[in-house]
């Protein structure tokens, strides 16, 4: 079987979206402006997310602090301009 090949150029940064399995550190290190969003969720979480859950995937953060994962990611992507 002979396949048609196509060389794909790198996708633009816009496609570099935020994923539930990214850790808080992954997110804030790639999109520094998202730290403010996590701070906004601190009150609902009851503690500093960046202090206590820096190495946790977003899906665990949402589960552990009873946060809406989709909304969290939407809020993060909004400030990250994705």
């Amino acid at each position: 079987m002979r396949m048609e090949e196509s060389v794909t150029k790198p996708l633009p940064d816009k496609e570099n979206f935020i994923h539930p399995e990214m850790t808080v550190l992954d997110v804030v290190s790639k999109h520094r402006e998202t730290e403010a969003v996590f701070k906004q969720y601190d009150e609902q979480a009851g503690e500093c997310i960046c202090c206590q859950a820096l190495f946790e995937p977003l899906k665990n953060v949402a589960a552990n602090y009873d946060l809406d994962l989709k909304k969290l990611i939407t809020d993060l992507e909004a400030v990250a301009d994705l």
């Binding site: 079987m1 570099n16 790639k30 202090c51």
Partner: protein, 199 residues
């Protein structure tokens, strides 16, 4: 090379981010990070350990000196970097559907199974197999091609599966093969590959 960071007065994640930047930029053998709160101490400690450093902590009053040591300097953070053997191309195959072509899905499914089985003919030049969109369904338990993919993985082929796509189809817990990944890894893989084949 020794690197010192004064992160006093900074709350997380700033000390960890500064530490990460310093490691990625300077690749120090020894790094000393001074912090003044417990969370930063623990997080810098954990981050350094995750990067392969041997970590010790010295307390001086209200300050903590988190000291990491590593032989040969830190390795830069490149999630999917891997060099092929000299003279070989790195071929990445990106599968965005669970069937091949358009017209008849039943035929397309058979063709896809045949295609994925035949990929082994690429030999060692087959470098990454990436599943996105409807293609992620091929990595789940019901997929006919699953044993073939597992065999590839056992042989060392890196299989990346789009996590957002799995989440979209509610298949995150159904994936049986490959590494759940994100768009950054996929884009990085595209940049590193010599050739990308889209199916």
């Amino acid at each position: 090379m020794k690197k010192e960071l004064d992160c006093r007065g900074l709350a997380c994640p700033a000390p960890v981010l500064q530490t990460k930047d310093a490691i990625e930029t300077d690749h120090p053998d020894i790094i000393k990070v001074t912090v003044d709160n417990e969370a930063s101490k623990q997080n810098v400690n954990r981050f350094l350990e995750s990067q392969g450093f041997e970590v010790s902590v010295e307390q001086e009053g209200a300050e903590f000196h988190v000291i990491g040591k590593i032989e040969g300097g830190a390795v830069p953070d490149e999630p999917v970097a891997e060099k092929p053997e000299t003279g070989q191309e790195k071929i990445m195959v990106m599968v965005a559907n669970d069937c091949m072509g358009h017209g008849d899905d039943e035929l397309g499914s058979k063709l896809m199974v045949s295609f994925l089985k035949t990929l082994k003919e690429m030999g060692d030049e087959l470098w990454r197999l990436v599943f996105v969109n409807n293609g992620v369904k091929l990595t789940t338990e019901d997929a006919e091609v699953l044993p073939v993919l597992k065999e590839y993985e056992e042989r060392g082929l890196q299989i990346l599966v789009c996590g957002t796509c799995l989440t979209h189809f509610n298949l995150l817990d159904e994936k049986q093969v490959g590494e759940t990944t994100n768009m950054l890894d996929i884009v990085t893989a595209i940049q590193l590959a010599d050739k990308v084949i889209n199916i």
